[in-house]
Point group: C2
Chain length 159, copies 2
């Protein structure tokens, strides 16, 4: 019960950020990143404020948490967001090694407000030739040397 209340508190912080975002000219999304019971990152949607199509609340919150913790991994972290993440943000959660995501509204609720993530999920899960954004191979042979250089690099930082 205590854990549920704690989690509800984090979700209410994310919802509050979403509400502030609408008032401040951003999209209706807010998120917080929590580690060991403490909020270490906060974000709200800044797409139109910053002219940055990647500035979804989750991405902004994860970047903030990484800055705070000085680490590009968010292991043992939970993300609380007022809406089910789009595929960009969910993929970012995988890259960040997040542990768990809590969401309030669903992608269906978001679609009813004009944010149609489902279409992008469908696009990503199609074979490339069927996608609406064309993906064309070019100069593969010339690119492989970069990967060899990476593998040969003694002081590389894997991520």
């Amino acid at each position: 019960m205590e854990e549920l209340e704690r989690r509800q508190g984090f979700m209410r912080a994310a919802i509050e950020l979403a509400q502030q975002s609408v008032a401040g000219g951003g999209g209706p999304f807010g998120a917080v990143v929590v580690r060991d019971g403490t909020i270490i990152g906060r974000g709200h949607n800044r797409v139109t404020l910053d002219n940055d199509p990647t500035a979804h609340a989750e991405i902004v919150a994860m970047r903030d948490a990484c800055r705070t913790s000085g680490d590009f991994r968010l292991e043992r972290c939970e993300l609380y967001v007022n809406c089910e993440p789009c595929p960009m943000c969910l993929a970012a959660a995988y890259w960040a090694h997040l542990e768990r995501v809590f969401y309030a509204a669903t992608t269906t609720d978001a679609a009813a407000s004009g944010f149609d993530d489902a279409v992008i999920y469908q696009q990503l899960c199609m074979p490339a030739p069927q996608r609406s954004i064309g993906l064309t191979p070019l100069l593969r042979d010339e690119a492989l040397g970069t990967f060899s250089a990476w593998q040969d690099k003694q002081d590389r930082i894997d991520y």
Copy 2:
């Protein structure tokens, strides 16, 4: 033929950025955004340099192009990247309304160097309960008011 040469030139610029990235301590990825035959955005991987798990070359290049053009949409733009995009970057391309993506190395080449995008594609295309990052609903009812506030906002900027 002239068009192919022009495109190869843009791809070589992306490969060059990837090579510079390895030399400078970033991951082996580079990208450029092109509109009307001109490069308007450049990026290389900065994940470990900036402690930002979302700073893939494509995201950095798209953010740069948006900053340059003062717009959160990259309509009529092409992305050139030295490797097939991961799902985070491809989803970002959809949000940015990019027109087309050219890539050199494949996700299989990237996996051989330790960058396993395929796993994340698989995760996104699974039903949520089967994913390794748990997605748990919480307080949906409390979140819906934010979407109503968004829809009621007269001066909202849709994106």
